[in-house]
């Protein structure tokens, strides 16, 4: 049998820009020693890039010695991880029971209508991404809204929501 010609080596993540790939590699290098490193790595990637790009999945898989299916399975399992770049601000509205008891359903409907988007979508001006969240632990003072990583708002009325969005749009400029 004739010897097989060596296959040309394919880049692991061909569609990932070099600078992004370097960033992802760095994040992985800082955490690969952790037992069960995948979740900490995905958190760090999302913290650094705002999302976990599909194109980064092969790189993460390769570096952690996992299959792409395993990494994709984990990214898609957890609500927290997004695979598309968010707007400049992420606004999360609590949908859970304690907030429902104080008007969260009406707030959710109001938010979708005034922003003109559904959950997991971004406004046309790129300012706001709307997401659902199931409990922020602020169950005594709902409806609760979380802006970006840690700015929590209590007893949010539709009017206050509009004011909040107005402020975020200003900041976004």
């Amino acid at each position: 049998m004739p010897p097989k010609a060596a296959m040309p080596r394919q880049p692991i993540a061909p569609n990932l820009p070099d600078d992004v790939a370097a960033r992802v590699r760095q994040v992985i290098d800082e955490r690969r020693h952790l037992p069960g490193a995948l979740l900490p790595v995905l958190h760090a990637v999302q913290d650094a890039l705002g999302y976990v790009p599909d194109d980064a999945v092969p790189l993460i898989a390769h570096e952690l010695n996992l299959s792409r299916a395993e990494v994709h399975g984990v990214v898609s399992f957890y609500h927290h991880f997004r695979t598309h770049a968010p707007g400049r601000h992420v606004v999360r509205i609590c949908r859970a029971e304690a907030c429902q008891a104080l008007g969260a359903r009406a707030l959710e409907a109001h938010a979708k209508k005034t922003l003109g988007i559904d959950f997991h979508e971004t406004t046309n001006d790129g300012a706001i991404t709307l997401e659902a969240v199931y409990c922020l632990g602020n169950c005594g003072c709902g409806p609760s809204v979380l802006v970006d990583p840690d700015e929590l708002h209590a007893r949010v009325t539709p009017e206050q929501f509009d004011a909040l969005v107005g402020t975020l749009r200003e900041v976004a400029k």
Partner: protein, 512 residues
């Protein structure tokens, strides 16, 4: 002497403007050339007073609240730093009836101390439990926890001592202590308040658990929705390492314990212990078959103690004051205290730590002060999204694991969510199914598909399509989910739906 002013760093206090209040007080004090130290403590758990500002006075801590940033100059004008009378003065905090009538054991320091200071923690009785534990053998520690009657506070109420004993008796090179801090039930926030208000208590409890069973590594699996708890825990763990309470040689002994916080990623199911373990291992958070029990094959296949935050945080006081002291609180087989969380449509929401035995009605009206909206309370959901909805006729149920089970309900993690008479119980039932369909791990069919079918059936009932037949289908679905699901998620999702149908049948009638 520098005046000490306390303003909470608790999430709810922050959501109500505590940071702005703290900044205003700092600025005002500087303007007036006054020397003040601001301590960012936990919350006392009286949310209608947040942002609560407390000062040290000869007679004890005097509170003012709620204090918005705009109230601050007037507060200084009235000489509040010396505890003088002011319109928003609520007086000595510990004499407020809501607070005075509680039995604060696990929450004794929350809202009192600087949460991340080891010195402050020690000055208020902290680490006395660990001191005792260091002088005891593992068997004796486990015996104390067993004798205290402490049951898992996460919801399942399994005796903590029995779990620990199993891990202690299983031989292995490596064992783990895992804290379940994935407090996903709506209406619950006691874990969060403890982690933000007294995180060292959890650190101490986990360290004691490590000594008890011979585990050297602990993980706190914290939900990602709790960024402020994450910050407080990280600071507290760093302080504990610095003070020699964590690391290779605990307080100079040959005992080792290391502790790390890991973040979840927004999956309710990861509050189920075996899903949590899979998640910690870096996988999808899917439920495992049991056996093997986590106590025998848990994290990375090793013997693992996995307990809820409040369970572990109740351990220091048991080791400090003794099993008998703790056991003296409570009724029947429910011993000790339970931090109850008053949430939803109530006037006085917050945290009430009481010995078992208080009634739901007392909690709703004597503590909660009735509804926030001023309308009648129609329904109460206890125990999170998998808990039953109870009508007024059940409000005399006693807070006790067995008493709740008797009325087809569940105490769970102690969250109490009140709804006024504007609630549509069919909508709540539909949401219970919808939530299960969103959060199901997908491993078993009754949960994954059953919940989806449940939403559809309830939509048909709402639309008046063959209502009676669909009620039969719905009840059949309850049985399939209850008996066919792998874990409590699918197994208990029928409970809120069934109870809504049972107690509020009028909401399931065809609308005229």
């Amino acid at each position: 002497m520098t005046a000490r002013i306390f303003i909470s760093r608790d999430s709810t206090a922050l959501a109500l403007g505590a940071d702005a209040t703290a900044r205003a007080i700092e600025a005002e004090a500087r303007k007036r050339g006054m020397d003040v130290t601001i301590v960012r403590n936990g919350s006392r758990g009286m949310f209608w007073l947040e942002p609560l500002v407390e000062i040290d006075a000869p007679a004890g801590r005097i509170g003012f609240g709620p204090i918005k940033a705009s109230d601050v100059p007037a507060l200084f004008d009235a000489g509040f730093e010396r505890g003088n009378v002011h319109g928003l003065r609520v007086g000595p905090i510990e004499m407020i009836p809501y607070f005075e009538r509680q039995e604060r054991l696990t929450f004794a320091r929350v809202g009192v101390t600087d949460p991340v200071s080891v010195d402050d923690y020690r000055a208020h009785g902290g680490y006395r439990g660990l001191d005792n534990a260091l002088a005891m053998g593992g068997e004796d520690i486990v015996k104390a926890v067993t004798e205290s009657g402490l049951r898992g506070r996460g919801g399942a109420a399994f005796p903590a001592g029995i779990k620990w004993k199993t891990v202690l008796g299983t031989q292995s090179q490596q064992k783990y202590i895992v804290c379940n801090a994935d407090e996903g039930d709506s209406g619950t926030f006691s874990d969060r308040m403890l982690m933000e208000g007294d995180p060292l208590c959890l650190v101490e409890g986990m360290t004691i658990a490590g000594l008890a069973v011979g585990a050297t590594q602990g993980y706190i699996y914290l939900r990602s929705e709790y960024p402020h708890a994450h910050r407080a825990l990280s600071e507290a763990i760093a302080s504990a390492y610095e003070a020699g309470y964590l690391g290779p040689s605990i307080k100079g002994t040959s005992k080792r314990f290391d502790l790390e916080v890991r973040l979840g990623a927004g999956a309710y199911i990861c509050g189920e212990e075996t899903s949590l373990l899979d998640s910690l291992e870096g996988k999808r958070g899917q439920v495992r078959f049991k056996p093997p029990l986590p106590a025998i094959k848990g994290l990375f296949g090793q013997p693992t103690v996995i307990n809820n935050v409040i369970t572990l945080a109740s351990v220091p006081i048991i080791l400090d004051r003794g099993a008998e002291f703790y056991k003296d609180y409570g009724v029947g087989r429910s011993r000790g205290t339970l931090p109850l969380q008053l949430a939803g449509n109530l006037k006085h929401t917050g945290l009430v730590e009481k010995a078992f035995g208080v009634t739901l009605r007392e909690l709703l009206y004597d503590y909660g002060g009735g509804s926030y909206s001023g309308r009648p309370i129609r329904a109460v959901q206890v125990g999170g999204p998998l808990g039953a909805y109870l009508p007024e006729s059940q409000f005399d149920t006693v807070v006790d694991y067995e008493a709740f089970a008797q009325v087809g309900a569940m105490l769970g993690h102690g969250g109490i969510v009140a709804f006024d008479d504007t609630v549509d119980m069919l909508e709540q039932a539909r949401y219970a199914m919808e939530f299960c369909s969103i959060e199901s791990c997908g491993k078993c069919t009754p949960c994954r598909i059953g919940s989806t079918r449940g939403v559809e059936v309830l939509d048909r009932i709402r639309a008046g399509i063959e209502r009676d037949k669909n009620i039969v289908v719905l009840k059949d679905l309850f049985e399939t989910m209850r008996f066919g699901s792998l874990c409590a998620m699918g197994g208990l999702t029928p409970d809120p739906v069934r109870s809504a149908l049972q107690y509020f049948p009028e909401d399931f009638e065809v609308r005229a």
